[in-house]
Subunit: 350 residues, 2 copies
């Protein structure tokens, strides 16, 4: 799993460079940096905006723009279902979508550890290319730094995203009202369990893969069709579903009620969580989102989400009771408060 | 020098948190992350846009926008004249200015190493606040990740900047023509020598400090007053003046000629470079820039630059001879080709 092999067909051959690993010189800003960038990175990711300028890209916007940043430090950098490059592209695309924005541009900044194997670097870069092309969101500017062996961990990536706000979007937790419905766009906990399975060297009977994927298309469909009836959007990455629902409760000032049996968890993930002592509600996801939609439009919202993923589900609602708290109705008929993730659960999950 | 002390007065007391160091839990996305951000980071950096949203900021622009990103890995994180926080803010502000843009917004993303002392983190954050306020460019969105001890190095920072293009700006190396004049906005090599002096534990007779500062004001003055006669702007950070001039030569297709005696280097820096075996032309700077201006406006350009720093100087010109090469006329009357920095000189200088 941690042995990368080039999985993507390039139109051009991979750059031939006379080094096998990243060296400190690749971060110097001099000839080695230029060779790495010009013959490697720019060649693979090329587009008109990226080629134009070294210091920055010049973009045009019409109307309000969302701006979002994330650094990715996931370990291992290759995992079932993806790699850190895909994750970094999809992650910032998804953060834009959560603002009600149409993802348009990304920046890309690497912090590489001296000694990183070039074939691993290319594989990450190809993951970036694949994800960027699949979502139709180009990388338009970037940066590369190198730190000494033992001062980093192979590859850290920052992506920062820009996109214009959807004309019908009005997304804010304080627009939630009692009666509004809480939906989820797919089954939970796949990403965290996939990462943990590799880290622990565990072999599950069936392979659980990360759900890393762009989620802007279902979001934009919701906004196109339901407009202001979509009130809140957030992707349950670090801290999982429980943390996002707590953010919703705290920021709206209302309570949130969820029904355990309606929360989609695949059998394999459920089994793995039991084995590992994890609560799926706290496990990170990378390709699903939670939305709050008016009760009147909840059936339509569910239909839209199910066009993209049949596991999408209505998992609960906003309530006037127990303000700022999330209460779960369990399968066995009990009720319990679901708190925010108290400390670390899975470090470096994204 | 590496012992931080809080050097900035806050209007509010520093957040009281019941931990002395950064732990993995601060990167989990759960309660600890929220406490670090809500009571710490947001409290110190607060502004309307930052408070509004966790997933991203929503901005408005009129006309074309520059977008630039940089990750900062400088070591040590505290150095004479600044810290990594100030450097990260000033650096991306300067990259925007080099695009001919008016810096408007920054994102801020931390990769913290487990065990980082909280007082060091606050000091970096205060450096960010100070630089952001001094330049009038707010931090509007951000991210915080934590990696295990030994997988990072105290603090890495990514800043990504946005700003609208100055209406009179038309900045591109391919606008340079033979006869155009090359200017520099201050004396060279201060940043690199300041960093190296701390790293090596050297004590120079007088203290050389980093030149980290925002340079958008002289740039905007040049653009206001000289418009399209300003053809090229670039700040000589990693790789130094020599690398930027080589980029100019390669990208314009013309030659560049520089006069050694006209390149401003302070006596202390010159002495330190001799002692350390460094060529000041390859040493990183963080608060100066190189510009190419039409011959007709060169005197005016120099006057504008000297209002901000009397050390500003005309250091050479674009020539039709030796295309794509930089030639230096030395003090002793010789000529030599100045190549791009061949490999590493000072790793992790920014």
């Amino acid at each position: 799993m941690s042995q990368p092999k080039l999985s993507i067909q390039l139109n051009c051959p991979l750059p031939k460079l006379d080094f096998d690993v990243i060296t400190l010189g690749h971060g110097s800003g001099g000839i080695l940096t230029h060779r790495l960038l010009d013959t490697g990175v720019f060649n693979i990711l090329k587009n008109d905006l990226l080629i134009e300028q070294h210091d920055g890209a010049v973009l045009k916007f019409d109307g309000p723009v969302a701006f979002t940043t994330d650094s990715y430090v996931v370990t291992p950098i290759f995992f079932p279902g993806g790699n850190i490059g895909e994750l970094a592209v999809n992650g910032s695309i998804n953060d834009l979508a959560m603002c009600g924005a149409i993802p348009e541009y990304l920046s890309l900044s690497f912090i590489l550890e001296e000694g990183l194997r070039m074939d691993e670097f290319w594989e990450v870069l190809l993951g970036i290319k694949k994800a960027s092309e699949a979502a139709g969101v180009p990388i338009v500017t970037g940066d590369t730094k190198v730190v000494e062996r033992g001062k980093g961990d192979k590859v850290f990536i920052n992506t920062t995203g820009l996109g214009r706000i959807h004309p019908k979007a009005s997304i804010h937790a304080n627009r939630a009202r009692p009666g509004d419905v809480v939906l989820i766009s797919g089954s939970v906990a796949n990403h965290g369990v996939a990462i943990l399975s590799v880290r622990q060297g565990l072999e599950f009977e069936t392979t659980i893969t990360s759900d890393t994927q762009p989620i802007h298309k279902p979001v934009l469909n919701l906004l196109d069709e339901l407009g202001g009836d979509v009130k809140f959007l957030r992707d349950p990455t670090r801290g999982g579903v429980a943390t996002v629902l707590n953010e919703l409760a705290i920021q709206s000032g209302y309570g949130v009620e969820i029904i355990q049996k309606d929360i989609p968890v695949s059998e394999q993930v459920e089994g793995a969580c039991e084995m590992l002592g994890l609560d799926p509600l706290y496990v990170a996801n990378e390709g699903i989102f939670i939305s709050v939609v008016s009760e009147a439009q909840s059936t339509n919202a569910l239909k839209i989400l199910q066009r993209f993923d049949p596991a999408s589900s209505i998992i609960g609602r906003v309530v006037a009771d127990h303000p700022k708290q999330v209460v779960l109705h369990s399968r066995i008929g009990g009720k319990r408060i679901v708190s925010m993730l108290p400390g670390e659960q899975l470090p470096r999950i994204c």
